[in-house]
Symmetry: C2
Subunit: 272 residues, 2 copies
DNA sequence: CGGCAAATTGAAAAGACTCAAAGTAAGTGG
DNA sequence: CCACTTACTTTGAGTCTTTTCAATTTGCCG
């Protein structure tokens, strides 16, 4: 039983690089549990009693408005942590999370997490990393929602899924969609029908080919990516800072605000 | 010069609760700098060379799409940290940040931050807290963008500003808007004109009264808050978990997923 | 085959964006 | 003090996107 937890934790981001001693300790603290599909792990506003590490299956965190429309914030699979931010900020969950499938999870209760923090700075550091990743991810979502159309967001989502579970065959990439249209809508911030239409339109544009509702092929990933409006990850040529500049002292970094070979219009500045 | 930094750091969330020794050490590492209004501190994708603590003035972090439309992610004022998540995740900034006004800031370089992390677990813990706060805040933004109309988001913004800088007088609350319509638009994810219309409409609804463009009064905060669709903070009666249940062992917390006296429709579940 | 959930499609309406034209406010320099 | 510039705001009209509602259709599973 605890052996399970050790194996899991060894590959979980939250524990990466930590000593076996701590790993074992964490595993001994962990309370294992199962969720059936559709079961809710916790509700928004609830007092956070601990963090959860996903062992099997899939959890989905989301927010819901008064009419019941929902926006999913994140998906957690094997090795991922859920509910971490609540422990470090405010102590109440700020989303509802539900099991997307039957799932197995481990819970580490709040005071045990605190114990781990006290014991091993590396653990806190990993927690910080996990949180930073979430911040980054959320920033992406915010940009998408604010700046892109539904069709673009659907395209973005498809590229994402293709990257993590598609099978490439030359330039073409085949994939199976794990989500229903409704669920996709909840991810990209729209509605069933609009997502459905987005699929149709993407197909008429030749950017995707749907076999079945759940099976589709992307003839040209680059094209779809470009359509989605997402800048291709990890920067093209001549983008990043000159590394050699790094490491010298003093306030150099903000002496030259404007330069930089960018073609973007200048940003707003708040009035005095 | 370094004295400045100590005074600032003592009240900054990133250093709260830390020993004077660490505080002094951090202050001695800090590089002070000034930004003029409109100057850019760093660009998205740039290699993160350190974190910044705001001493004076206001910084704004945002993302921009290809056409130059921008979405602001956060505002940082005195005592706030900027660029923290980049250090803990990936090492490159994931937004651009600009000075909204003339500003004074302190930079702690990457290797110095690492040094502080190694030296004091409390520092890492504070960093984690700061990141968790940002996660929470971003979740709010995502919900707003996905689930609410522009008018509601404007209302939400007004309530926010009123809470932090409005002056109440009985039930009525007067306030000065620090931002132009364009800047508000960038915050709530819309455009000048639409925000302008939102103000007009809110006024015809009697939810706000504008004196000048920058001065307005909210006759009834509760009404405006309700209009915005944001659940009133910190939960009404009978909402939170029964505290007395907390602290007992075992996997009780996920044995009863469904219960909970909620009136919301049941969430989607991804297909098998 | 019947029943059910998911998906699609059409049509109408609402919401949001864009462009263009005016209006307002504050500051500058004569 | 006034004309003038500049930046910000408002408003109207047209268009496009997105949502919503309703009606089918599809595919699956018992």
């Amino acid at each position: 039983m605890k052996a399970d937890a050790i194996v899991l934790f060894r590959n979980a981001g939250l524990f990466s690089g930590l000593t076996d001693a701590i790993l074992r300790k964490a595993a001994s603290m962990a309370i294992s549990g199962r969720l059936s599909r559709g079961q809710i792990l916790f509700y928004e506003h609830e007092r956070a009693s601990g963090v959860y590490i996903v062992s099997e299956g899939e959890l989905r965190s989301f927010r819901q408005d008064a009419e019941g429309r929902e926006q999913t914030l994140s998906i957690a699979r094997c090795g991922a942590v859920v509910g971490l931010s609540a422990l470090f900020s405010g102590g109440t969950f700020f989303n509802t999370t539900i099991a997307n499938s039957a799932a197995e999870i481990f819970c580490i209760e709040k005071h045990d997490v605190e114990e781990l923090c006290r014991e091993d700075p590396g653990f806190v550091r990993n927690a910080a990393r996990a949180l930073a990743n979430q911040v980054r991810e959320f920033a992406r979502v915010i940009e998408s929602l604010a700046l892109r159309s539904v069709e673009q967001r659907v395209a973005e989502y498809l590229v994402l899924v293709a990257q993590e579970s598609g099978i490439e065959n030359g330039t073409i990439c085949a994939m199976e969609l794990p989500l229903t249209r409704s669920a996709i809508a909840s991810r990209v911030g729209s509605t069933r029908e609009v997502v459905s239409r987005a699929f149709s339109h993407l197909e008429t544009l030749g950017l995707i080919q749907t076999k079945d509702r759940r099976i589709l092929a992307i003839p040209d990933m680059a094209a779809l990516g470009e359509f989605s409006g997402v800048e291709l990850s990890s920067s093209g040529p001549g983008f990043q800072h000159d590394e050699s500049l790094e490491g010298d002292t003093a306030g150099r970094m903000w002496l030259n605000g404007e330069s930089k070979g960018k073609r973007l219009p200048r940003p707003y500045v708040a009035a005095s």
